[in-house]
Symmetry: C2
Subunit: 373 residues, 2 copies
Amino acid sequence: MTDFSFELLSEDSRTAARAGVMHTPHGDIPTPVFAPVGTLATVKTMTPSDLHELGVNLVLANTYHLYLRPGADLVLRMGGLHRFMGWEGPILTDSGGFQVFSLEGLRRITDEGVTFRSHLDGSTHLFTPERVVAIQQKLGADIIMAFDECADPSDHAYNAQAVARTHQWAERCLAAKTRDDQAMFGIVQGGVFHDLRAQSAEYLTSLDFPGYAIGGLSVGETKAQMHAALEWLHPLLPGDKPRYLMGVGSPEDLFECVARGVDQFDCVLPTRIARNGAVLTHLGRLNLRNAQFAEDPAPIEEGCACYTCRTFSRAYLRHLIVANEITGLRLATQHNLHFVLDIMRRIRRAILDGSFADYKASFLAQYQVVGRQ
Amino acid sequence: MTDFSFELLSEDSRTAARAGVMHTPHGDIPTPVFAPVGTLATVKTMTPSDLHELGVNLVLANTYHLYLRPGADLVLRMGGLHRFMGWEGPILTDSGGFQVFSLEGLRRITDEGVTFRSHLDGSTHLFTPERVVAIQQKLGADIIMAFDECADPSDHAYNAQAVARTHQWAERCLAAKTRDDQAMFGIVQGGVFHDLRAQSAEYLTSLDFPGYAIGGLSVGETKAQMHAALEWLHPLLPGDKPRYLMGVGSPEDLFECVARGVDQFDCVLPTRIARNGAVLTHLGRLNLRNAQFAEDPAPIEEGCACYTCRTFSRAYLRHLIVANEITGLRLATQHNLHFVLDIMRRIRRAILDGSFADYKASFLAQYQVVGRQ
């Protein structure tokens, strides 16, 4: 029915980790996969040529942002998102749900859809399941997402209502979809509640999506609650379909969530922190703005194969970042993407050769986590 | 005495254009040459890898800016400018003269040197000929510049005084210089005045510099006055030394000034206008912010071999630039540098095969000039 399929190649014996491959019209995606975020049809500071060199297999673009500018009709007239952005590899567009539910100010939710105001000019817009599918069909990504309602993860009553609405909207999205060269994933909601997650997984799997996203996580709940939700869902989601944990992607999260059966991630973290001067290493994050790096001749990380580490010292990168030089943001972004993509490649190889649990333990023993636990 | 030499390969029969090659410790520089400006030890938005791919043969870095941050001593401890910025090709540093004379606010000029306030933190500093040479020796560029006084080009009395001081400072710079692996160019001053330019050229050539810069132009005089100054200097400067016109580099200027005997240029124009969304074509400049490009599927210029033109439409570039995406600034910079460097390569080939005057005429017949005449 669609040009999309998922092949499960290996399941880890000591964890729920899985290795596989997604086949899409624009190429294969080895899983587990990390998708850099290209909000406005560009991964900030990078070119498609850089992404190829980094080994990117999937790029996420944001429906909400592209709908507002340059507009889905313009992208369609320019030949679709792949051609427009010069990226011939696989693309995923989100549904815009997360963005419109995150907007401050006027936002009205009914069964019909969500009325919201543009963060750019305050103009009023309506996203319905049908409109969101139409927009994503114009953009033309390989993987598109059903329109869902994102609720406060710790409010049971609101989540019960959001789950019910997400299910109705999922059916309307499926009915509205006409392109066979796009795979639409359903999104499981239910916050931190076992009963609602189970209900959502059961209902959505009955609709037989080619893949399932896990929504409403990494939005304020604890890491323990996020892990619990993944553990509940692992036996409830079909083993032969990919599972996509939306908006997650710190290095420690990648290990913990792959270990709980997740196949696919996207996250702004590596690119966003880079633009603040923070870079990833196997010992944790470094902030290059720190004066301690002013005369440090070492690369960000010894042995790192990325262009930045092969070419420049921490001293030089700090100089660029302190001076607000765009090249510094670019070089830090390139390193951070390499770091996360390289981890994912190693994770996948470890799953395939049976050493994932050991690799996870050794990585996490070294890596100093910053932020919420 | 130094590791620098200049070889004059060909002189045009119909104009004063020259083709040659400068030999430096970090490689050969075919002339005429255009040097992109890497103010803070980076050509804004670019990497050394990009510069190699673009065919850059010489990068300019600013002594004034690097002295303030990260500091010349730090650059020296990090192995010098080439190693610090990851660029193993030829580098030129200016003397800082132009910057300190351009500073607003407190600035005091005596025969000893120039006392000025940092534009970053208001701290007070003194540049003398000896200090400027010492700083440039720490930075370690292949070509360094004598410290000169830049005067209002149309004030004869001030220029007479500035020329005299520039000559004293040139002698002090030569006396202070100790590194044999750096070539120091003298700078001819004299504003728009024939007598002063002649006096300056005569005096500085008596000091036998390995190259001569023409300073104090492109700072408010007319194009006709700039051209006249070059025409006066052509017979007065030694034919076997390179001539460097500082701060000049619009496409039309390159043709007009090569035709008047200039071998070397630097200019922020192609990189600076790119960051404002303006790009160069053979018909003139385009501003990509213009709404007329919103749905234009064409590249910036048909037939252009740069990565930007091979990959992206004007519509996409406009989208990136209107959305303030760094990638847009980078792609516009890459195109503009390619445009100027490609012109210089064609100019050089045309000089060597005797067709420069025809190439100049055909280029200028098409190219619509923006700005002062």
